[in-house]
Symmetry: C2
Subunit: 408 residues, 2 copies
């Protein structure tokens, strides 16, 4: 269980191929260095598949994002092709041609029309895609599709240090339905939805309109609540595919089983979001910030994200310094009104601030609350019903090293 509101068991292993009727593969074609996997393919034979996605909010959208959006809108999606190591962003007309070519090559190998293939890329911005190499990777991946999603999970990584996968299983109308997901971070992680790649699959049958509402709402409450460095990328996407293999009555927004389905999707996304935050570039700790008592969830989310995104808070977490002044200060510039006199702040179990003034406390105990793998900061800002959680990580020397050295 990853959250007290969750009603489902979540497994942190097994990704996009955990639901029935999905095949995947990941191979190495030489875009990334050192023989790392860099081309992934995800495919379902089911003709009942529905797709929905949310995309980066960055004004500068990479070529693959445009091509992916067209494919999702064409409403016949059956596959995804993705490469890592090169974002195919800021590459002009040639980049757009390259993204279409990547789509065409994958469709050809899978016996699909190009519009049935979603395209994604992640990596360095501003370099042209080596289409020949990607093409040979696509051919190799198509030949090695299997029910094991691990190589696919590896193929989408960049500076990530580990794969990210999660699975949930629920009963819907007598059928067992599985939701699986695989994601990658790990820099440029920030709301809103300009953050990372996440691919979620389910064997449930789901109406398209319902699927669209689900991906938007769940992404907003999970991936849009993580921040690593405040930079939002040009390439990012959350794709949700439902192939209907479970043969349940298609889920609709008004159906009694919708909350169960929705919760399973949100649980998988939340688990992936936490894995991304924990693996933020250079991070040594997962930071979880809970804000309660706000007028509404949006206000609570803005306050929580401001704390999780503050460079000064993140550096203090790295230094195991329970510097609650920085927490209060970050809430103060979140763009949301609140009354410091009604605010309480705790590090783990140690309350440090209440009613506008410091609470005498054991500083060593408060610092110790920052010393573990997971750090919890809680702020109550009043008596309102709004609560939200945001996730981040500490700011470390290693973040600076990675991003000072990434390309050169």
């Amino acid at each position: 269980m990853t959250d007290k509101n969750s009603v489902h068991g979540i497994e942190a292993r097994g990704g996009v191929t955990a639901p029935e009727g999905f095949l995947a593969a990941g191979v190495s074609c030489g875009v990334r260095r050192k023989g790392l996997r860099d081309v992934g393919l995800l495919y379902t034979p089911s003709e009942r598949t529905a797709a929905a996605a949310v995309y980066t909010t960055n004004v500068v959208k990479a070529a693959p994002v445009r091509v992916a959006r067209e494919a999702v809108e064409a409403a016949e999606v059956r596959a995804l092709v993705v490469n890592s190591g090169n974002a195919n962003a800021a590459t002009g007309e040639r980049g757009l041609r390259d993204a279409y070519e990547m789509q065409r090559l994958a469709a050809e190998e899978l016996g699909l029309a190009p519009r049935q293939v979603v395209v994604a890329s992640t990596g360095v911005i501003g370099e042209y895609l080596p289409v020949d190499r990607v093409g040979s990777g696509i051919r190799e991946a198509a030949a090695s599709l299997s029910r094991d999603g691990r190589s696919f999970a590896e193929a989408i990584l960049t500076t990530d240090t580990c794969t990210k996968e999660a699975v949930a299983r629920v009963e819907i109308g007598g059928a067992t339905v599985t939701v699986g997901g695989t994601a990658k971070g790990s820099g440029m992680i920030h709301p809103d939805m300009a953050t990372m790649l996440a691919f979620i699959t389910t064997d449930a049958a789901v109406e398209r309109e319902c699927l669209e509402a689900t991906v938007r709402r769940a992404a907003d409450r999970t991936f849009n609540r993580i921040t690593v460095d405040g930079d939002t990328s040009t390439n990012d996407m959350v794709l949700l595919l439902a192939n209907g293999v479970a043969a349940n009555e298609p889920v609709t927004l008004g159906a009694p089983e919708y909350p169960v389905f929705y919760a399973a999707v949100e649980d998988v996304m939340r688990e992936l979001a936490r894995q991304i935050a924990r693996d933020g570039e250079g991070a040594t700790r997962l930071l979880e910030v809970v804000v309660e008592g706000a007028p509404d969830e949006g206000a609570a989310a803005a306050l929580a994200r401001s704390v999780a995104g503050s460079s000064l808070v993140k550096a203090a977490v790295f230094g195991e310094d329970a510097n609650w002044g920085r927490v209060l200060c970050a809430m103060g510039y979140a763009g949301v009104g609140f009354d410091p006199e009604s605010t309480r702040i705790s590090f783990g179990p140690v309350e440090v601030f209440a009613a506008g003034a410091p609470v005498p406390h054991d500083v060593e105990a408060a610092n110790a609350a920052l010393a573990g793998d997971e750090v919890y900061i809680t702020a109550s800002v009043g008596e309102g019903p709004g609560a939200a959680t945001a996730w981040g990580c500490d700011l470390t020397y290693e973040y600076v090293r990675i991003n000072g050295d990434y390309r050169t």
Copy 2:
């Protein structure tokens, strides 16, 4: 000359006491460690003095900010008392009483009413002010007021590595008028006006309404365009005092000499803003970002600030990596629409991106443009009249060390 639009000579030495009729002092009373100066006093005997200020936008405002605002609104300001090492923020009712006590003690020493004294504090948040020590510092400072502003400039520093001062001289209606300023950074530097302390003095006679418009506009174009870490503080203030000792006809907004006066103030503030950015916590380089061709100045400023504030751009500058993709990406999430196809980006003299695609260039030369003390990134986003400059600094290991260790 610090700017091509500047019509004035700017001297980087000499601060708040450069204009006639201002006295200052800075002493050590034991708030900061190691005998560093930590209490400053600024005073003018002139009863013609007008004052105007802008304050932090943070919802959490420190006690001294509230007290300062009351003093400025009372419109009889003649002095400023400031301490470093303790922000007297998030200290509740006791903090407010302490700020009033600090004001009262300074007024008593200077023979003024309390409302005539502006109060400022900077330093750690959430600890009570040691009022006894500050009081003894105020007495010592009052006894050592002089025409030399250097000790005052030192007394307002926290993690700054150097003092920040600037002076401009102009002719107004036959009188020579001097504008001088002193500021401190150096973390928590970010728009809007929740950034730092800056005290600007002039011996010009200026109508109060004109002074208020001047401080707002000039701060918006200078201090609100610098960013060190995106964190905006609880304490910050720009105070502009005009004591009228130059005996010119009082400057008004409609007066023909207003542009000359305004430009002198903006020049001093810009020079101080650049000094603050250059001395950002852990910084090794000043980053100057110019955006041109935007629809208006506001859009240009938003784009320039987004680039100057991007952790990924700042880490790339530290690493001397001319990674223009990060520049384009940061412009993309600035919240301002622009067309990447009409955008050009240069590092120093080296153009690296144009018309939506990379420009073939000498990568070594582009990287070399990032190797100096001052790094210039220029982006043209179209044919519009809007242009703006923002300043920042690189993100370094030292930033992480300072902020991981600051309090513990």
